[in-house]
Point group: C2
Chain length 344, copies 2
């Protein structure tokens, strides 16, 4: 998605300034290191909505008290393959990366590690955590529920969040297979962008306050689930899967019950957000070698498959890694507000 | 989906005849019991394409040698939370239900049980296995890859199968939360039905042999992934998730490499299909009681949420349970070929 009036800066410079701002805001070294890693990931792969532009928001929340500046994570092993991580109301990235590490430890013994996370907060892009597991050689699933913003199928109120499902898997060479998808068709930011540009939205991605599908970005009040007007019951149910794993299993906050991330008056009460991470060790199934051979063959066959005229076929993650390569060379584009806040 | 020239029969009568045909075809008691359970489930909840109409197909495959009449399942525990089930090339339902049982045993100790299945075959509706876990009190995920039939995003060949993702969860009262979704928008049967009725298809659900989206059922040669023309990269990636878990982790057959389920000349070679089941014990996260309270509140809030004019909001499974209630009272509709084959 295009950023208006963007200026680009090299990653290292941005990283320094994000670090400086989070340090001033009082975030502990461990928690800010995690947040920076996740934000830089998102900014590099082009998920700008979850990238370093969130630094200002997190700093406000650290100042307001919603976020604990010096969280002490708790890890409770609940079974040979299961654990709960207590985020102690710090930056969600910290708890989520820890959950991946815990999941890997469990998976190395049990074959699988399922880790619920409670007392957490916004974790940025869920894909960052799936990726962290895959980079260490594990098939990894990460999900979270988020603030209500998406209608149910045939619904007329914001119910689920854009509830992402993220999966990643190691490949024999190169960067992991990576899927990080919202269970709505588009993110809310897309509506805001189309509103500011006065451009119509695609069909079946947003609805008015009465739940009537609309392509007018000014009328759009909520998002519609993936699958649109005909098959949105699938997207709505997938959003429910995110809630099932992240909130129901962990005993944390339901999507409609969150204190608003933005725009509410309350920035001092923790939101008790939940997430869920699942880590699988390929060695404990058909074996790592066979797995890597299989995914290699699968990706080769996928990338070599017949393409529709004018189109191109990519594996999940290919687009992101291409953006990453560009941005590592040419810099990361930032909006003017973020440039100002970071002091660039 | 309407069945043409259907006649309805009570469940017990159908069950008897399916049992008789599978017995004549030589299927062992254990394997046919599993197949009947899964087919009756599908027929009762309205997934007729995966219901008792498949009896004839399975009987042919038992006769041809593709399916082992007397499979001896193998279970290899690979870690405290992981196992592989070897289906011994029998009816896939048998291996898949066993995998759920194995998953439950693992989950009760480890908190989670991840079970890969190899040397299996068509398992019918994946939802049957997610449901089997949920009925015993466990959050359960079941998936399989299937014969190539769905284009990639911008693809011009059949690549993934309709690769279902099925999730189910126990609820405090009543029948489980149940999602059993293909990762295409529609099943192939829908195309065939529209072809026979000469009715146009919805937009963005099927494509010509060149991958060009078409609503002409006679021109349609492959299905498009969930998300359609604009967001089909999400559905394609979800189909890849099914393949990742079912085939890549288990070392079994990739979607494009399957001996065709139907219509190929070879009905004597086993297809080595893989599936995957994940079972989670809520007790090993926030606790069973808290989980049941939370999902109860979630469903109450969902079912009581505001509805778009002319629509109705349902939880995943609600539609299926309503169909089940009707069919348990009024009987299960069967197409003429199935009526004939079953001898009804």
């Amino acid at each position: 998605m295009a950023i208006e009036n963007a200026r680009t800066f090299p990653e290292f410079l941005i990283r320094e300034q994000v670090e400086a701002r989070l340090t001033e805001a009082g975030a502990s070294e461990a928690s800010r290191t995690a947040a920076i890693r996740a934000m830089i990931h998102a900014s590099l792969v082009g998920v700008d909505s979850h990238g370093v532009r969130l630094t200002e928001h997190y700093c406000r929340m650290l100042g307001g008290g919603r976020l604990n500046k010096t969280p002490q994570l708790g890890v409770e092993k609940r079974g040979a393959g299961s654990a709960m991580v207590d985020g102690d109301h710090g930056l969600g990235h910290y708890a989520a990366y820890r959950a991946v590490d815990v999941g890997i430890e469990l998976a190395q013994e049990a074959g699988v590690g399922a880790v619920g996370i409670k007392h957490s907060s916004h974790l940025g892009a869920a894909g960052a955590y799936a990726l962290a597991g895959a980079e260490k050689g594990f098939v990894t699933f990460a999900t979270t529920n988020t603030d209500s913003m998406v209608a149910l199928f045939d619904g007329a109120q914001k119910f689920h969040g854009t509830n992402p499902l993220a999966f990643a898997a190691p490949v024999p060479e190169g960067r992991p297979w990576l899927l990080d998808m919202a269970t709505s068709s588009i993110p809310l930011n897309r509506v805001l962008l189309h509103r500011s540009l006065d451009l119509p939205l695609p069909q079946g991605v947003a609805a008015t306050a009465d739940g009537v599908p609309t392509s007018d970005p000014h009328e759009a009040d909520m998002l519609l689930p993936l699958g649109g007007v005909d098959y949105g019951y699938k997207g709505a149910a997938l959003a429910g899967v995110a809630t099932l794993f992240s909130a129901l299993l962990t005993g944390t906050t339901l999507d409609p019950d969150f204190i608003p991330m933005y725009g509410g008056g309350d920035i001092s009460t923790p939101r008790n957000m939940g997430h869920f991470v699942l880590v699988i060790d390929p060695d404990k199934f058909a074996g790592r070698e066979m797995f890597l051979q299989a995914i290699g063959r699968y990706l080769e066959s996928l990338r070599g498959s017949r393409v529709r005229e004018g189109g191109s076929v990519m594996a999940p993650g290919d687009r992101e890694w291409a953006v990453m390569e560009t941005r590592q060379t040419e810099g990361i584009p930032l909006d003017p507000d973020t440039v100002r806040f970071l002091g660039l």
